[in-house]
């Protein structure tokens, strides 16, 4: 049985590589995108349980992706990450449907636990 389906959106290749590799090793079904356009294309073609979205993206920001998620996959959860936290960004992200707003860097153990919590799964499910 495949684990929870996770969409990773981040323009940093090192982050995508590390996070994707880690989560895959933990049993998640992971797909990644480097910008908004690629993320929207994936959202239209596949179903995801949760998204991990970097706030600042080269062609927009996480709010664009959250808006699309709300329209076409309303059951999908989302975590927004940022390297430059601010109350305004946090408020906007939560208002746009994000379940959580976190500041980089985060421990991947913690990210893994959050993903299980949001998807209602356990490590053994993954």
């Amino acid at each position: 049985m495949a684990g929870p389906r996770v969409l990773i959106v981040d323009d940093e290749p090192g982050i995508r590589l590390g996070v994707c590799t880690y989560l895959e090793a933990c049993g998640f079904d992971v797909v990644d995108a480097a910008d908004c356009a690629a993320a929207l294309q994936l959202l239209r073609g596949r179903r995801f349980d949760v998204g991990v979205l970097d706030y600042a993206l080269p062609d927009g920001n996480a709010l664009t992706v959250l808006s699309e998620i709300a329209k076409i996959q309303p059951a999908m959860k989302a975590i927004v990450l940022t390297a430059y936290p601010s109350d305004t960004i946090k408020r906007n992200a939560l208002a746009s449907g994000a379940s959580m707003f976190l500041t980089k860097p985060i421990e991947l153990v913690a990210l893994r636990a959050l993903l299980h919590e949001l998807t209602g799964t356990t490590a053994s499910d993954a």
């Binding site: 940093e12 090192g14 982050i15 590799t21 090793a25 933990c26 390297a83 980089k104 860097p105 421990e107």
Partner: protein, 496 residues
């Protein structure tokens, strides 16, 4: 009536003569001839008749003569009486239109000439009087105006005195001999004593404390070269002071001084606040730039730890890349924050530009790019910092160049409003800047390039600024980004 009486007298005398003559004839005839009575009676009767006729004629002539004489005399007298009335009433316009006896025509003409002269003199007098009246009116008007001017001047002087005393900073006037001509209340309060104690006193007698020491020194300089001067002195309190010039046309120098301690403290607080704000912004940017590679490193290490069997996989190069990125960030931060070196020396830009291109040639080869360099010009510079300008600009151009792109690094000497400058341009053939990004390209940490620190152009701006130049970003009309750096040409070069 004298003339009438004379005529009457002659007429009567004539008549009596005729009667006497006739009576004498009668007497002779009676004596010598004893003629007949009839004849005599007839002759007497005839004689009496003749005598009666003569008497009547005489009486008639006498009456007519008297009337004629009366008329003659009355006309003459009335004519000259009107003239006398005109004279008495100063009626110089009056003329005798003489129709009376011709004997008086000359007299009338003479009277008229006198009248004409009187009338002319009267007109002259009237003109003079009119002019005098006009002059008097003008004089009165001028006096009124002068009185009003005087009132205005008095009010202005009063207002000036009040203003002079009302200003809350020290204000005084000093003549060219260094003698105080006027002091305001604030000055007296600071000097001590009263107004009369300081007006007329030399400035050498000012108290030996600030701001008076500074004012004395300032005025000494003003007296020497006559130019306006100002200064600031900090001695517990912070004083700002100034003097007007004292050239030949000026009688006094106006000197003022004010305690700006509070304002200075406020400005310093604002500067500290701005500095802290700028530092906060910078730290925010640093934190942002550090968090991403740090997250990548921790994520890669976590991933690698789950797959320790992977030795030749992607983790090691990715980790190295992220660590390199953090090292670059650290170096650029240090470059951005490096203190300004004020010891600039005159150097040619040509070898500096050539060295930068030489350093970046391997990177250019990776994308098969061509770099054309044609830069020269003597400027005051810190060569190491100027090398960083060329490195950053050419590296920026390479980062945005397509494969086999061409980069032009050129310079030209220009006169910027009389100031000779050398303009350095770096152009690439990439997509150019987005119009909306242009205001932000020199902001620290602003970048559109993945992995870029956003410090390259801010470092260029900082260094160019330290060299007294300016930098601007735009796009070339034929495509590609165009960075322009203007630097002042060194005086030695500019004069050749």
């Amino acid at each position: 009536m004298g003339v009438a009486s004379a005529v009457e007298f002659f007429l009567i005398a004539g008549a009596i003569g005729v009667i006497v003559w006739k009576a004498h004839r009668i007497e002779l005839a009676m004596d010598t001839q004893s003629v007949a009575n009839a004849a005599l009676a007839g002759e007497i009767s005839g004689m009496l008749t003749a005598l009666s006729v003569v008497a009547l004629g005489l009486l008639l002539a006498l009456g007519i003569g008297m009337l004629a004489v009366r008329h003659y005399v009355l006309r003459t007298v009335q004519g000259f009486a009107r003239a006398a009335d005109a004279l008495e009433s100063d009626n110089a316009a009056f003329r005798l239109d003489w129709t009376g006896p011709a004997e008086f025509e000359r007299l009338a003409a003479r009277f008229n000439r006198i009248q004409e002269r009187l009338q002319s003199e009267s007109a002259d007098r009237a003109r003079i009087e009119t002019r005098e009246a006009e002059m008097l009116a003008a004089l009165n008007k001028e006096i009124d105006a002068n009185a009003e001017t005087l009132r205005i001047v008095k009010r202005a002087a009063q207002a000036w005195r009040q203003t002079f005393d009302a200003v809350d900073f020290v204000l005084l006037t000093v003549d060219r001999h260094g003698v105080v001509q006027r002091v305001n209340r604030a000055a007296v309060n600071l000097l001590g004593g009263g107004f009369e104690d300081w007006i007329g006193r030399p400035i050498t007698e000012f108290p030996d404390r600030q701001p008076w020491r500074a004012i004395r020194a300032l005025l000494d300089d003003v007296f020497v070269d006559g130019n306006p001067m100002s200064g600031q002195i900090e001695d517990g309190a912070v004083w700002e002071y100034a003097s007007t010039g004292l050239h030949a046309a000026e009688d006094v120098a106006v000197v003022w001084a004010r305690d700006i301690s509070q304002m200075t403290e406020l400005q310093r607080a604002v500067a500290r606040s701005e500095s802290m704000g700028a530092m906060g912004e910078l730290l925010g940017g640093v934190a942002h730039e550090v968090r991403n590679p740090l997250f990548a490193i921790t994520a890669l290490l976590d991933a690698w730890s789950l797959k320790p069997q992977v030795q030749e996989g992607p983790f090691l190069p990715a980790l190295r890349r992220e660590v390199t990125r953090m090292r670059q960030l650290m170096e650029e931060l240090l470059e951005y924050g490096r203190p300004f070196n004020p010891s600039l020396v005159v150097r040619d830009l040509q070898p500096v530009a050539a060295e930068a291109v030489s350093i970046l040639m391997p990177a250019a080869r990776e994308i098969d790019a061509t770099i054309h360099v044609d830069v020269s010009g003597l400027v005051h510079m810190d060569s190491a910092r100027m090398l960083r300008v060329f490195l950053n600009l050419v590296q920026n151009a390479l980062d945005h160049s397509p494969d086999r792109g061409v980069i032009d690094v050129a310079s030209q000497a220009l006169a910027d409003g009389g100031q000779p400058i050398v303009r350095i341009t770096v152009r690439d053939r990439g997509p150019g800047f987005r119009e909306a990004d242009l205001p932000r390209v020199f902001h620290p940490f602003f970048t559109r390039r993945p992995g870029g620190t956003g410090l390259g152009l801010p470092i260029v701006q900082r260094i160019v600024d330290e060299h007294g130049g300016t930098v601007s970003a735009g796009n070339h009309p034929e495509g590609g980004a165009l960075i322009r750096v203007d630097l002042p040409i060194a005086a030695a070069a500019a004069s050749t």
